[in-house]
Each structure stands twice: as structure tokens, then as C-alpha cells.
Amino acid sequence: MPMLETKGLNKRFGGLHVTNNVDLTLQAGEVHCLIGPNGAGKSTLFRLILGEHLPSSGAILFGGEDITSLKPFQRIRRGMSVKFQVPGIFKALSVRQNLEIAMQHHYDPAVLGEEIDRLLAFLNLTADAGRLAGNLSHGQKQWLEIGMAISLKPRLLLLDEPTAGMSPEETHATGEMVKRLNAQGMTVLAVEHDMAFVRQVAQQVTVLHLGKVFAQGSIDEIVANEEVAAIYLGQTTAHETAHEAGHQQPGGAHA
């Protein structure tokens, strides 16, 4: 059974048709990347999946269940979680408390403290645990937000530009983390503009353009697609990505 299915999903803002009949299927256990030009409707699609926006028409199925009219928190409780494009953290609370709020209902109180420590270490934020989340640097906020998302132990993890503002090494590490989570059985849907990251993690790529599914396939198929290159990748990137595909190495390939 697919993990997530959208059926004929439409969203309009006034005259703007932002999501246009999107049929997207996510198989359980895959890492699926969503790419496409700025304004293609990727973040909007995320918001539809999460229930922050209600679709103008269409349906969303999660694990076979129709969740189209559920409230966001009900969807989260069914096993999804999200890292937004603009980090949505609790700015006036400490980093540790941010994680505690995310994790408190998912871990036994007895081990909660250790789990938080472990996650902090993993996020490279141990030294910053007591600081206010709002005072972190941009990249650190991204990490914290990712940490909160994965700490819910979701079945489906939604990542909107998880590596924006990260250095190549960190981007790579994030990719490795996604793979590890995926290996543990988590399904991942990620929006990214960083082709190296996409190449690193994606098993399936969907290109969104003007609110429609424009192309779908493996990363190599997508990169080879002339039209995608024209609307999105640009010539050199397509070329380089294809070129570097040959000798993948940690942190090696960048858009």
C-alpha cells in the first residue's frame, strides 16, 4: 500500500492555480524528492498534505486512510512530521526545551533526558542546549528543526529544503542521516534545490512545474530530461551533476 497518495489535488489562491491536479504517490519506505522551480507549488503541496491549507478539490490518502479533512495535529498523530522551509522553532525557549516539547509524548519519561542528549549530540547542538533557539545561527536553526521533526519518530517525514544554508559537509551529513532514517523504515519526502543532495538520497524524483507534475523518475532520468534542464536545472548544473554522478564521493557533488 502506498504511504501517501494525492488524488487530483487542486489549490487556488484567488486567480492563481498553485496546485493543479497533482497525483503523487509515495511508496512506503522510499525517499522521494520533490524538485521544481521557485513558485512551482512545492511548499504549498506540503501544506496541503499537512492540512495547513485545505485543497480546493482532490483527496489525500495517508496509509490508505483519507485524511483530506483532518486537522493538522490529527495528521501528525497518524505518523507524519515536518521540517518547514522557514524554520518554525520556539524562539524564546531553550534548544533543549524545544526538543523536549517535541519528544515528551514519544518517549518514556525515564529515558527522555538521555534521548534528548543523544539527539543534541547528533545535531551538533550539545554546547548550545541551554541557549535560546532564536539566537542560533540560521544553519543551527535548520538542524534544530530537523531534529524536532525526526524526534517524533514519524512514518512519513516531510522535509522542505532541509539543507538550505548548510555547508556542503553538513548537507552531505544531512543526506546520510536521511538515508539512515530511511534504512530504519522511515518514508521521506523532501523538497530540495541542491541536486547533490537529491542525488545522494532520492530513490524517486518528481518535478513540479506551475503546480503540475512535470516529470517523474530516477535522478538520472530527470537530469537527462532536456525540458527539466530548461526550466529548472540550467545547462551547467545538468551537465555537472551528470558528470559527477560517475564518481560519487562524500560531499563531492554540488549544484
Binding site: 521557485n38 513558485g39 542560533l136 544553519g139 548548510m166 555547508s167
Partner: protein
């Protein structure tokens, strides 16, 4: 054109920049790189004046500016594109552009047309409220908003963030072109190595609030060297 000497700046009395020296010559494009949290954005903010300098000097042109407030520095011709865009969410795209041009009086028709040619989406969405634009669209607006006032120095804090690859290339091209045409000086903070390579003539590497290395154009071309520095 721009130099800092022993610059210390930070938040709530705690310095993030620990005595930082850089020097940028007229017409140069200089990049600043470093890992997350080393103080790159703090440097940019203290150059424009959003984070006060606690010690040290910032010289722009031949004037010390560390005591000037942000709006005065902007009026001296410094344009700043912040990390995280910071467009005015409830103003329209057009009004955002207009605010960008206020430093230089009114926006001229040619300047506006030029910027809209760089970023056609802005023309298309001229009356849309900026807060409802997509992330990448907002980033383009943030850049356009600064270019419209023809600054002499542009501070770009991770301009490629959230922008689709082909437009990243466009931006790099535009900046280089602009630099060639008008001699505008650019300080660029970036993580995107391709963009740095495409734009920068020189590069400072930062760590823990200090400049720890300076890379020439040649060194920038050397992928291995770059990687080493970014992994500090």
C-alpha cells in the same frame, strides 16, 4: 573601499566576532565562507550596522562608519541582502521595490525595468503581497530590492539559498556582469561553492569569529583546498 580592523561585535554584550580584519578593494567581489554559526551573518550585520561594533573599526570609502546607524550607512551606498530574505510581508512586490529605492530618492523607470528584467517573476507578481510569495521568489525580491537603488557596495548573505539552480546561475552571472559594468563592490557569504567560484575573486575563510585563511582565485578553483577549508 571597505575594511575592518579588530572588529568585535555580537549580541547582548557577548562578542561573536573576535577581532576580525578584512579588506575589500573597490570593484572586488570577495566571498566569505565558513561553517554554520561561525559569525558570517553577524559580520554582514555589523557591516551594515544592524549589530553594533563593540570594538575595532569599519572603514567604508575613507570614512569610519562604525558609529553610524544602519540607515546612514545604507544612504552611503551600501546594499544588504539578508539571510532569510526579510521582505516586507504585507507590502506588495512593487512596494517592496519602492522601499528599496527610497535611499536614492525615487526609483527611476530604467532601474526598475532593469531589475524586473533580471527577475521576470517580480514583474509578473507586481501587486502580490510579498509574504505570499514562495521562498525562492522572496529571495529574488530581496536581491532586486537592493539592486534597484544602484548601491556601490552590496552585502549578499547566502543569496542562493532556496533558489532554483538555473536562477542561481543567473544571479551569479548578473552580479558578475554588474560588477564589470558598474564597478560595484560585492561581499558575498555563501555555502554554494559553484556560486563562489562563478563570482568571487578572493575569499576569506572564517572560524569562530575570526578570519583564519584567505584564498586566491586560484585556490578557489582547487576543489580539494576549498573542501579542506570548509571542514575546519
Amino acid at each position: 573601499m571597505l575594511s575592518t580592523l579588530g572588529l568585535r561585535a555580537g549580541y547582548g554584550g557577548k562578542p561573536v566576532l573576535q577581532g576580525l580584519d578584512i579588506e575589500v578593494r573597490q570593484g572586488e567581489i570577495v566571498a566569505v565562507i565558513g561553517r554554520n554559526g561561525v559569525g558570517k551573518s553577524t559580520l554582514m550585520k555589523s557591516l551594515i550596522g544592524l549589530v553594533p561594533a563593540m570594538e575595532g573599526s569599519i572603514v567604508y570609502g575613507d570614512k569610519p562608519v562604525e558609529h553610524l546607524s544602519a540607515f546612514r550607512r545604507a544612504r552611503l551606498g551600501i546594499g544588504y541582502v539578508p539571510q532569510g530574505r526579510d521582505v516586507f510581508p504585507r507590502l506588495t512586490v512593487g512596494e517592496n521595490i519602492a522601499v528599496g529605492g527610497m535611499r536614492a530618492g525615487r526609483v527611476t523607470e530604467t532601474d526598475r525595468a532593469r531589475v524586473l528584467d533580471y527577475f521576470p517573476i517580480l514583474r509578473e507578481r507586481w501587486s502580490q503581497r510579498a509574504g505570499t510569495m514562495s521562498g525562492g521568489q522572496q529571495q529574488q525580491l530581496a536581491i532586486g530590492r537592493v539592486l534597484v537603488a544602484n548601491p556601490q557596495l552590496i552585502l549578499l548573505d547566502e543569496p542562493s539559498e532556496g533558489i532554483q539552480p538555473n536562477i542561481v546561475q543567473d544571479i551569479a552571472r548578473i552580479m558578475v556582469q554588474l560588477n564589470a559594468d558598474t564597478g560595484v563592490t560585492i561581499v558575498l557569504v555563501e555555502q554554494n561553492i559553484d556560486m563562489i567560484r562563478a563570482m568571487a575573486q578572493r575569499c576569506y575563510v572564517m572560524d569562530k569569529g575570526r578570519v583564519v585563511a584567505e584564498l586566491t582565485r586560484e585556490a578557489l578553483a582547487d576543489g580539494e583546498a576549498m573542501r579542506r577549508h570548509l571542514a575546519v
